[in-house]
């Protein structure tokens, strides 16, 4: 099945969120208090390797499994939406201790109350869709 490989990659993602403790509210608090290098190390390593890898993909015009060259879609240029949206996201991230990926990892992990966060994250997404045209971007 075509989708099964993404299911497998998702499993690896769930496991790394758990084994690194990045899914924990405590680790997010520790990060926003600058008490430990742990979370910065995780994100920093991922981004450092990511920058190197993406540069190599561009330089050597690496192709994906189907032979198409891997392309990167530039995000639209703007300022307000990234800063304002990002700040709202950050407020919720520090309060709930979870960003969207870890929210669902927590549910599988057995933190069933995270379902409340998940349902309201869906509602928040819906709400954005409703008011989108009235917001500065």
């Amino acid at each position: 099945m075509k989708l099964f490989r993404f299911f497998l990659v998702g499993i690896v993602f769930g496991i790394v969120m758990a084994k690194s403790e990045a899914m924990s509210w405590y680790r997010i608090q520790e990060m926003f208090r600058f008490h430990s290098f742990h979370m910065f190390g995780i994100i920093g390593t991922a981004v450092t390797l990511g920058v190197l890898g993406v540069a190599l993909i561009r330089k050597f015009n690496v192709r994906d499994y189907s032979g198409r060259s891997i392309s990167f879609i530039p995000k639209e240029r703007s300022m307000i939406r990234y800063l304002a949206g990002g700040t709202i996201f950050g407020l919720g991230w520090a309060l709930s201790g979870a960003c969207p990926g870890p929210i669902v990892v927590n549910i599988g992990y057995g933190c069933t109350t995270m379902l409340v966060v998940f349902v309201f994250a869906l509602l928040g997404t819906f709400l954005y869709g409703i008011v989108r045209n009235k917001l500065p971007h």
Binding site: Q29, F89, V104, F120, G124, T125
Partner: protein, 185 residues
């Protein structure tokens, strides 16, 4: 190897695995970004009747929903089969700081003071998680991505918008932690 994987994973290994996930998705012709799933689920649930944002061909995002299902399963596997260690071993400084707001030292992955059903079934406890989730969902779509889409994928491609978004993530997180926590807890 197995022994290593059953220990808590160090930051450098965890970060490497996350980068690898991004590259595997690129190789499969996709871009790592988790919060799109929230939009996809809204679309699948018929939200397109209310807002054009959700008038998309959500079935083309099936791969990301499969990734989501895998993420749930991965959390379950880690908890039941990979000797997940608890409690979370955060620094003494964080434990001391959180104690001031009424949080006891960690007993597991998440604090009971926020995530036990006992807490969530109070109005206050419910509202904290509800508002947190609402802001995560709203903010992610407004900013056009979350930690994976901006902090990992976007920064790896050196995109300015993603740097702005990540600055916003931290600004919001710092304000919540250092300004609003003393008011809320």
């Amino acid at each position: 190897m197995i022994e290593f994987l059953l220990q808590p994973w160090p930051w450098w290994f965890s970060g490497g695995v996350i980068a690898l996930i991004m590259f595997v998705l690129l190789f499969f012709g996709k871009s790592f970004g988790f919060s799109s799933n929230l939009q996809t689920i809204c679309s699948a649930a018929g939200a397109g009747r209310f807002a054009s944002l959700f008038n998309t061909n959500w079935k083309s995002q099936g791969w990301n929903l499969a990734f989501l299902a895998g993420a749930v399963t991965g959390g379950w596997i880690a908890h039941h089969f990979l000797q997940q260690e608890e409690p979370v071993r955060i620094s003494e400084a964080t434990i001391a700081a959180l104690r001031e707001y009424g949080f006891s030292a960690p007993l597991g992955m998440q604090p009971d003071e926020l995530y036990s059903w006992e807490t969530v079934l109070t109005l206050r406890g419910f509202l904290i998680l509800a508002v947190g989730g609402l802001m995560v969902g709203f903010g992610a779509r407004y900013a056009g991505g979350c930690t994976s889409g901006h902090a990992i994928s976007g920064l790896s491609d050196l995109q300015w918008p993603s740097l702005l978004a990540v600055m916003g993530f931290f600004l919001g997180g710092l304000v919540m932690t250092h300004v609003l926590f003393p008011v809320l807890f």
